[in-house]
Symmetry: D2
Subunit: 292 residues, 4 copies
């Protein structure tokens, strides 16, 4: 194993499928059979059954037999739909294009980029979108195109359209809000049409909205938190992917909370992004199933 790469099973030509749909007897067997009969070999299979909603969830990764990854993915998707499942396939070597959104704070921006650069993330960071110029020079050093979109209340609608155009031009399939200090409108989310992961600097649902560290300080909590979630049109209400907390005490000022919180934000967002890129997350009923 090379010491300079953390890039995982980069050379294995496998397919990952995420399935969910109404539970019914025999689903595990039918999926496993389909793969086996076509000469495939399952590397991992993980399933979950929501006993209240009677929904079946599965993540299965396999090396197909003779067919190409594309053919086999398409055939599996057809099969899964036949048995009543929503399905999404991907391959670990497919590196989706990512658009990174940032404002002035650099901690999450650098953390995501450095993990990607060290081979930790199976993706391509295609561009940075920002409403400030603070991180432009760093993005240039990293070799990532930087698009500066200054935003005001007045120009927000039109600027968001330009951002969508920009993201489309790169083929971006995932947005990451690395402490991006603008709220994405419902129109943006609909127009972009791909998942967006945000990190909120509190332990949601506590202290949603603005100035969560101030809120936490005033309430006198003994733990502060951070939350990574998919963005939906309702602010800070999307499906939660990952959360973490850190202990604080009376000696900590709001500035201390911010500093400690930034470490949480980095860790929580980095893990959420990794799970997404490894195709480990299914969303259902405004919650996530994370096959870790």
């Amino acid at each position: 194993m090379s010491e300079n790469t953390l890039s995982g099973n980069a050379n294995i030509e496998s397919i990952i499928a995420l399935l969910h749909g109404p539970d019914q007897p025999g689903l595990v067997a039918r999926v496993a059979n389909w793969i086996w009969e076509r000469g495939g070999n399952i590397l991992h299979a993980d399933q979950h059954r929501d006993g209240e909603a009677i929904v079946f969830f599965q993540r299965v990764e396999w090396i197909p037999g003779s067919a190409s990854l594309e053919e086999e993915s398409a055939a599996f998707e057809a099969f899964a739909q036949e048995i009543g499942m929503h399905v999404k396939t991907s391959t670990p070597n497919a590196k989706p294009k990512v658009g990174l959104f940032a404002s002035k704070y650099g901690h999450c921006f650098h953390d995501i980029v450095l993990r990607w650069r060290s081979g930790e993330y199976p993706c391509d960071i295609a561009c940075v979108i920002s409403n400030h110029r603070d991180l432009e020079d760093d993005a240039r050093h990293y070799g990532i195109p930087y698009h500066y979109f200054p935003m005001t209340k007045e120009n927000k609608a039109s600027v968001e359209k330009e951002e969508i155009e920009c993201l489309r031009s790169y083929g971006v399939k995932l947005g990451i809000l690395a402490r991006y200090m603008q709220i994405l409108s419902a129109d943006f989310l609909k127009g972009f049409g791909y998942p967006v992961i945000n990190v909120h600097h509190s332990f949601l649902p506590a202290f949603a909205g603005a100035r969560p560290y101030q809120q936490a300080y005033e309430r006198g909590v003994k733990l502060i938190g951070a939350t990574a979630h998919y963005v939906t049109p309702i602010l800070d209400q999307g499906p939660i992917i990952n959360q973490a907390v850190a202990a604080v005490h009376h000696r900590h000022t709001i500035r201390d909370l911010m500093r400690k919180g930034q470490d949480l934000e980095k860790m929580v967002l980095a893990q959420a992004v990794r799970w997404h890129l490894e195709n480990r997350i299914l969303t259902y009923a405004n919650k996530t199933v994370v096959f870790d």
Copy 2:
């Protein structure tokens, strides 16, 4: 050191003082001087200055010189008031009487009692107050008087008065709500007149009120929590003493959340009670300063 006791400095005849008041130069020196000049020796001293509110907080423990603990405590309190401080003194060997409130769940009840029995807590658990009979037999085994007060909406006001009488008869100076499933009224709190510590089964301020595990399950959070706080007339809004969380994921049912949460409740309450009994907590502006 005996293996069978965790009872700490039980034989040291020391005084602990908790002070707070408007900050002013020289407070640390004046307190230290007062003790030194009278032949005392400071074992621990910890102070905090709230830079926004300009309030000074101190916990100081010392072995007095020739005077008795009582004389020296009284003299110190007079001195502290002279320099504008609120002050409360105590001695580690004074074992306050505690009233333990419980309902049906036994996990916090047993945890508190067993810690006390093993010498971990400098207190006397004087009595158990309960609106159910479930734990009566266990209390008898532990040798703790058990008072059963069935409660309805109609009789609540009069029963609370009886409870206060009961607590007074034992000289109780601290109430512990060990998952007691009744809300203490403002009248009760006023009538009792001593601190009451509660454990709430969520990470407050998230999921205040009823059925917090159900709320947490429905929101799909990735961490559940528990919070120990002093009881005030406003439900779940008192000063927070201690909080902890545990990771949960999609496989956990509400029942799993309850089970994992019970471990948090025990740990969080046990630590809060210890800090209180060791005279480590000052409350100010609906927050706590914990000198740990």
Copy 3:
């Protein structure tokens, strides 16, 4: 859901199988097929493939079709052996007899018994074995037979034989060392013939052997730990099931480390016992695979 029980799926008549053996293509499908073709329905299936040792591990739980649990378990075991797997089946409702070993410290003893009594553990605590009398009265209160076996270097071999007889008389299938301060000999382990879970009061492999808190204090570590592991003839070297740590600092005395450590010991042992009783643990190459 009753508020007074945490006993889980107590009424579901399911079978749990733990399998491991040389990896080969199609294992997931063959197991799933076998169950499906006989009318069973898989509730959970979790597998792991050790990519270095090329070993396949699986935990599968299913509701069988028409056959009885006993018949189906036997049939499955025969099938699993045919495909080259080691296999062990059990049913959630089968409550194995447990023998609890304790000495003077009561914290783990009470914790395990109280969890069992509240319905958290699918087992029967059949008896307590102790080399001291300290916990006898508590065991009587809990209604558990207490067997006192005073032990010396001289009588150890013969006493261990008596203990094995005692355990056999109850049909004990699991031993739990709840801070039992005697080392079980290789002869005992062989003669007893069932798994034994121990909790060691350090973060193994650091501070193996005697007086781990003293060792930790002297080295000045900033975290102390506890470790639950299966007992093997080599002291503190068996497969690790569960570990946890807590932060300590310079103010903590050895007594504080002991107190904080006891909380870790309880939590770590309780979780390890739960996993074992839920048939979630496979051991292989002196390590554990825990299907949580």
Copy 4:
């Protein structure tokens, strides 16, 4: 409060003193008096008494009266020595020169530099010393001089002398080993003459020496750790400053352990460096007292 700085009390002209020596009655009072009588105002004071070794430790921060910081620091040092204390004073605004050592791994290197650049650390990173060229381009982007010292067994002694010369030329007063993969010789440590902080990628004392992740994987531990410590001539045996752990399970490969461990290494080292730069650490008897 500016959102772009985490630099703390940068404008307060205070003195921090770290004291330790034989305990004696009245030390707290004498120190507080000395400060008060000269018109100073104590911002923070924290003391510790090692009850076994009978040693007194104190960290005190104050704003002096009319004298300059330099005069007052010198006067305090003289006073402290008179009362038998070892003493070291510093000022929060004094930014010591730091020498950062790195090899090929960049995660700790970037983490330390980015924290410093965002104003989190009161220091100047004066230079990078490396036995590889991998991070040279990044150092240039950050504007930090990079000194490449290729090292072999044969040239080690002479290269270390060159490194000391290099560090001296910058006035470096602290060395940080950001996963620097060379062992510093006793001669280097003596010749450099200032503290050096290292991060070891295990939970010391477990898995000291080479390849700790491999060792952890083979032992099957359920937690991996990282440890920041001061470097002494005995490998991995210096006073421990900070430790942290993360949970691992059977699915984690050695590569996963490395990845998870890198996050621990960053957090543990970052905190240890902060404590050192804020003059919070006293070492005594191969342990640290951290006034946090």
